[in-house]
């Protein structure tokens, strides 16, 4: 929703996430580098990337909202429309293809009652074709919100869907948008701190000067 006036403008990020966003931005020599991490943070909060998120991120990284959108739309993990609580990615690249990915995808479409690319009516599942998931020896593979499932049979798939629907996987598979649940935290007394490159004019302290 557009801001009504400067007085009542609501920020997209929650107070805690805004604090996190400031911490993330400060880690880079140039603010713009925080664009992708902040898009992830926005997706974690909201499930997908909305305009308000991009407007606020633009402000945080010294870019225009169009530049943030330009960057975001290049990357497949960012969704610019609502998706299911669980995004199910079935790998179709070579090793998975050789080991039965097509059968698995056909079965998934039947089980979920949607075509690849679509979301179930209850908003629980979005089914997607994916490219190599770096688990080729365990083919065919899929990821639910980027958590791997290995050597998936059609029975396994049915069980997975039933478990997710019943909430039995809530402990290990968070809703779409949340990636890592452990964040990097740099203690203030240990941090070196990021310095803009133009403010550095010599070698670091531990490197002997040339010819010295």
């Amino acid at each position: 929703m557009a801001a009504q006036s400067d007085e009542t403008q609501m920020s997209f990020f929650t107070t805690e996430n805004r604090r996190l966003a400031d911490v993330i931005v400060a880690r880079y020599p140039k603010r713009r580098s925080a664009t992708i991490p902040l898009l992830h943070l926005a997706q974690e909060q909201h499930g997908w990337i909305c305009d308000d998120a991009m407007i606020e991120i633009a402000d945080l990284v010294d870019a225009t909202p169009a530049e943030v959108k330009g960057t975001g739309t290049f990357y497949e993990m960012f969704k610019f429309h609502p998706v299911g609580k669980y995004v199910v990615n079935i790998c179709g690249t070579m090793s998975c293809k050789l080991m039965g990915a097509d059968e698995l995808m056909n079965h998934a479409e039947q089980k979920l009652g949607v075509a690849v690319g679509e979301t179930t009516e209850d908003g629980l599942f979005t089914l997607e074709h994916a490219e190599c998931q770096a688990a080729c020896t365990e083919a065919p593979t899929l990821q639910v919100n980027y958590r791997h499932e290995y050597r998936v049979t059609t029975d396994d798939f049915d069980r997975l869907v039933d478990d997710l629907t019943a909430g039995r996987r809530d402990g290990d598979i968070p809703a779409h948008g949340t990636l890592a649940r452990i964040r990097q935290e740099i203690p203030a007394n240990r941090a070196v701190g990021a310095v803009p490159p133009e403010e550095v004019d010599g070698p670091p302290a531990w490197l002997p000067q040339e010819g010295a």
């Binding site: 770096a134 890592a180 531990w206």
Partner: protein, 491 residues
């Protein structure tokens, strides 16, 4: 269950070892192991286990020497880059201009080459080894900040690395004045968001600058001269850096004693597809052959159901294919190139006699067409058309001219002779790797590689599904018009 150190933010459930399944796929073999030793422990990724098994010893050794001595040690070890290009890390470091500051280190953990997954295991199962490698590289070459760029679709790797970084910071191994010296380094964990092309090092830098991940125009060929924020930048692969702790602990001489003179040390390779025991293995560089890997008891133990081997991809989806005739080629860069392919990223995909070759080729071409960033026209348009035409052929709607058209489109991406393996059945001599290309990076040629291999080695399988022009017209398929105006068959 493994115990995790470090403080968790209030209100967030700590992630336990059981909350995410233990990454399967790795098999220990009898060969010397450089980077996978901690894989023997289920909790090898924890700070306690890492410290109890010698983590950061190599780095502490490095700190007792001058940076240039450490650089010399790495150069002497001839650590060939493990990301695909195989360029020696120590030499790459030396390309940085001596008087331009600051310098940055970017760790390429965006592993996504089809068939490849060694870096994911190295990040998930031994993050401290990788962090130690970053510290050694930064100390040796005066890098002031390190960015660990990890593929977005690997949340387990993120969690393990984040925890490892938090623990190492808390212990004084990263950050300001490390171990009481004047060496200081921040290591920042950075997230990718799903784009294969970002594995190309200049695209990786663009992405890290917050932009669309498109490769930069070359020259300069190496970001060592002009990289992140226009500054000298070292981009090293996860496995490459993971080798450094062992080298500093045991010495370059011990490292070069493993493998061959041109390819020392070990490699971590993933073998998948139609083998009895698909897996990730650490093998001796330079001497292990593909036959050892596919049939050896230590490794894959043969083709599934004792079927015949039909073909295999030796170095990731971008690599031209080998047939059983190349089984005795050793895992060595120059020999593999001379035989008509490349070692690439250590990924072998195996096809047995039951494999439908056109469908297998399509699964790879589709990947590269999908992953084209769109910057270079030959890749953006060519890759898309290769996929469309090949799809038509696979679905039994192609005509004979489609096969020539595939080669024609491929020639706009890669003019001239394309590398391929020799085949005594077909009277073919090998054409060595690499190829010429009209694109900035290797995504475009990679879309053509599987088609060229499959058409060169198994053309009959494509011809079997072709239909004639009348049949094509009857089902409304556009008939391919060759750009060859004389209508003669392409040779």
């Amino acid at each position: 269950m493994a115990h995790l150190r470090g403080s968790h933010r209030k209100g967030r459930e700590p992630v336990t070892a059981t909350s995410i399944p233990h990454a399967p796929g790795f098999f220990a073999s009898e060969t010397p192991r450089v980077v996978t030793q901690r894989f023997d422990y289920e909790d090898g990724y924890t700070f306690e286990r890492a410290m109890a098994t010698g983590a950061y010893e190599g780095f502490k050794t490095a700190l007792t020497r001058t940076p240039s001595e450490v650089h010399d040690e790495v150069r002497a070890a001839t650590v060939l880059g493990r990301g695909g290009a195989g360029f020696p890390a120590g030499v790459k470091w030396g390309f940085m201009p001596p008087t331009v500051w600051p310098r940055y280190l970017v760790v390429n953990g965006d592993e996504s080459e089809p068939g490849t997954y060694k870096d994911r295991l190295l990040m998930e199962r031994d993050p401290h080894q990788l962090i130690e490698g970053c510290l050694i590289a930064a100390y040796a070459t005066g890098l002031s900040q390190c960015f660990l760029y990890v593929r977005g679709e690997m949340p387990l790797a993120h969690e393990r690395i984040a925890q490892a970084l938090n623990d190492a910071y808390a212990d004084g191994l990263i950050g300001k004045n490390i171990q009481g010296t004047n060496f200081s380094l921040d290591i920042i964990l950075h997230w990718g968001a799903g784009a294969y092309v970002v594995g190309e090092e200049t695209a990786l830098i663009e992405s890290l600058e917050g932009k669309r991940g498109m490769p930069r125009l070359k020259p300069p060929y190496f970001p060592a001269a002009i990289g992140l924020y226009g500054q000298p930048t070292i981009v090293n692969n996860v496995e490459t850096l993971s080798n450094l702790p062992w080298i500093l602990t045991n010495g370059a001489a011990a490292y070069t004693a493993i493998g061959t003179e041109s390819s020392p040390g070990t490699r971590v390779v993933a073998v998948s597809g139609h083998v009895k025991r698909p897996g990730v293995f650490e093998i001796v560089n330079g001497t292990t052959t593909f036959r050892d890997l596919l049939y050896g008891e230590d490794y894959c133990q043969g083709i599934r159901d004792d079927n015949e081997l039909k073909a295999f991809v030796p170095g990731g989806g971008s690599a031209p294919w080998f047939t059983p005739e190349q089984l005795d080629v050793p895992f060595e860069g120059r020999e593999c190139s001379a035989a008509g392919s490349m070692l690439g990223s250590g990924a072998i995909m195996v096809m047995d006699e039951t494999t439908d070759i056109p469908t297998a080729a399509l699964s790879l071409t589709r990947f590269y067409a999908h992953e084209s960033c769109g910057k270079c026209v030959p890749c953006r348009e060519g890759g898309t058309w290769l996929e469309k035409i090949l799809t038509r052929v696979v679905q039994g709607r192609g005509t004979s001219r489609d096969l020539d058209l595939l080669l024609e489109v491929g020639a706009t991406i890669c003019p001239g002779d394309f590398p391929h393996a020799s085949s005594s059945d077909l009277g073919l001599d090998a054409t060595p790797f690499p190829y010429k290309m009209t694109t900035i990076c290797f995504v475009g040629p990679s879309a053509f590689a599987p088609i060229h291999s499959a058409l060169t080695l198994f053309r009959g399988e494509f011809e079997d599904r072709l239909i004639d022009d009348d049949a094509a017209g009857a089902i409304g398929v556009p008939v391919a018009i060759s750009s060859n105006p004389t209508g003669e068959e392409a040779s």
